[in-house]
């Protein structure tokens, strides 16, 4: 029996993603009304769109078994996790400790996205950035950002 082999891993991955997104789009809108062409319901357009995405994913998946293509580069967990984590951490901290301290913490944590961490340099950079953003955004541009903890 001939074994099915994925010849184009990138396209295969993209195809899987499209199929998943399309299925999600189709079934998550399940309780909405579909309607007809002359009286389109809320599900009409996204429903058709989702099916198109699934069909495209299936087509791409089929071609990825037939035509050779590039492999998927390995994921480097460190930068991905640290950078995205920092975005969430900043959002969590901002209302609690204010812009200045959040900035310092962001700079320090973000440094761990690279292998060589220079703590002193990061602290200095963090302090500099904290002063800069507080002056620029809070005082000069009067953006609604709390500079310190407990600020309204």
């Amino acid at each position: 029996m001939p074994r099915v082999r994925i010849k184009n891993p990138q396209d295969f991955g993209a195809a899987a993603m499209f199929v998943l997104i399309g299925l999600a789009g189709f079934f998550l809108g399940g309780d909405l009304e579909f309607g007809t062409a002359s009286k389109m319901g809320p599900r009409y357009f996204p429903g058709i769109l989702s099916l198109l995405i699934v069909a495209l994913g299936l087509g791409l998946g089929a071609s990825s078994l037939a035509v050779k293509g590039p492999r998927i580069e390995p994921v480097q967990l460190r930068p991905v996790a640290v950078v995205i984590g920092v975005v969430l951490l900043f959002g969590y901290l901002l209302d609690i400790v204010g812009l200045a301290l959040s900035t310092m913490i962001l700079t320090l944590v973000a440094a761990f996205a690279r292998r060589e961490v220079r703590i002193v340099e990061s602290l200095l950079l963090g302090a500099g950035l904290a002063i800069f953003v507080v002056v620029l955004f809070v005082y000069a541009l009067s953006q609604p950002l709390p500079a310190w903890w407990g600020a309204p």
């Binding site: 809108g29 002359s38 996204p46 930068p79 962001l106 963090g126």
Partner: protein, 502 residues
Amino acid sequence: MELDVFNNLATGFAAAATLQNLGYALLGALLGTLIGVLPGIGPIPTIAMLLPITFGLSPLGALIMLAGIYYGAQYGGSTTSILANMPGEASTIVTCIDGHQMARQGRAGAALGVAALGSFFAGCVGTVFIAAFGPPLAVLAQEFNSPDYFSLMVLGLVTAVVLAHGSVAKAIGMVLVGILLGLVGLDTNSSLPRYTFGISAIWDGIDFLPVVIGMFGIVEIIRNLESRDLHRVPVGARLRDLWPSMKDFRDSWPAVLRGTGLGSLLGILPGGGAVLAAFASYTLEKKVARDPSRFGKGAIEGVAGPESANNAAAQTSFIPLLTLGLPSNAIMALMMGAMIIQGIEPGSAVMTKRPELFWGVVASMWIGNAMLLVINLPLIGIWVRLLSVPYRLLYPAILLFSIIGVYSTNTNVAQLVITAVFALFGYVLLRVGCEPAPLVLGFILGPLMEENLRRALVMSRGDPSIFVERPISATLLGLTVALVALIVLPQIRKTREKAFQE
């Protein structure tokens, strides 16, 4: 008619050229260049990051500043391409080819100078172009009805697909996913929530900024951190070399003219814009050159042509936005977002109801370009020094500004969660080789497409033949079919792949 053009421009300059607005234009161009020159940041994240600064300004002031930021970001990107061979985005990839070679031969100054002067000239022509063709197109736009709008958007999206790098199938998928994401939120017709999962932050739809910052800004940082190739030392540029020589002028002015003409035309196309213009111009220059083998080895025409073309196109791509209310590329989608935040609904009504705003924006484009020339020629030394700052010091700052940019649009922590989600999504896209730009265009056009499709089908009582019966719509769909035929034909497809590989 000709008199009109100049009368209109005069109205615009009167509105735009106040001391305050000139200050905004200068500040915008300065900040845009400052951020745009940082390696790996193209105009899209630059504009997204700086957008919140303009919120407190008057509508005209905000748009003037944004125009400054846009041109600044683009010029900053060219500087980085020439000196460090690091394109921030697609439209400056071409500049890298010969621009960086020139820099290595010690002619960085000439390359930067020609880029600045060519861009300025193209910007001037582009401004007159908008002033001349904007009003007639706005008149035509009044003939547009729902089916025509829908067909125009189809044409725009198909063009965007054709221009995306790599696989056509993946680009179509990206457009469709973008449209789907654009539909999240309350359905305008039934007022029922779609795909909101009870999350109040996306009740009114997913905001544009977290999507763009996540998929472009944050992913770009991760990508740079992943690659080991971070220590590219920029080639120094000496200030006194900045002025191109007489020979450089002689060699480059025909390229500037051709690039400007090509760029002005290609910028108007839906789905077109700076990227297409830059690539087309480079190809053209190579074709008309007496000795094409010089290209890739530091031919000044290879800098002058594309740099002029991308700036001309950057100007004229405002035409579909300002007359039809349709953004033709991701940057115009950002501009549209900014206008809506300012309470301006882009479209032909802007020109008739608020002429001072429309012409003010047109005039501000010229002002923005002039500002660039004023600040870039003397400040080039500073940008060069900025380029030599190591990336390990830059990325925390870039990350910080991106986050603050997202947060301050509506001071909601949920926006940062959405940013993180889209950053992760963008990273997956990077791994499976999908380009996010078509997704952004689909995201913006999605709700408009649904609305116009719905209205068109209500008009025709569900009969889809309305799209081919109306002449405007039929013409647009005919163009779309022709375009699809072009990419399906294998011969042309091969050339397209070749053009993007260069």
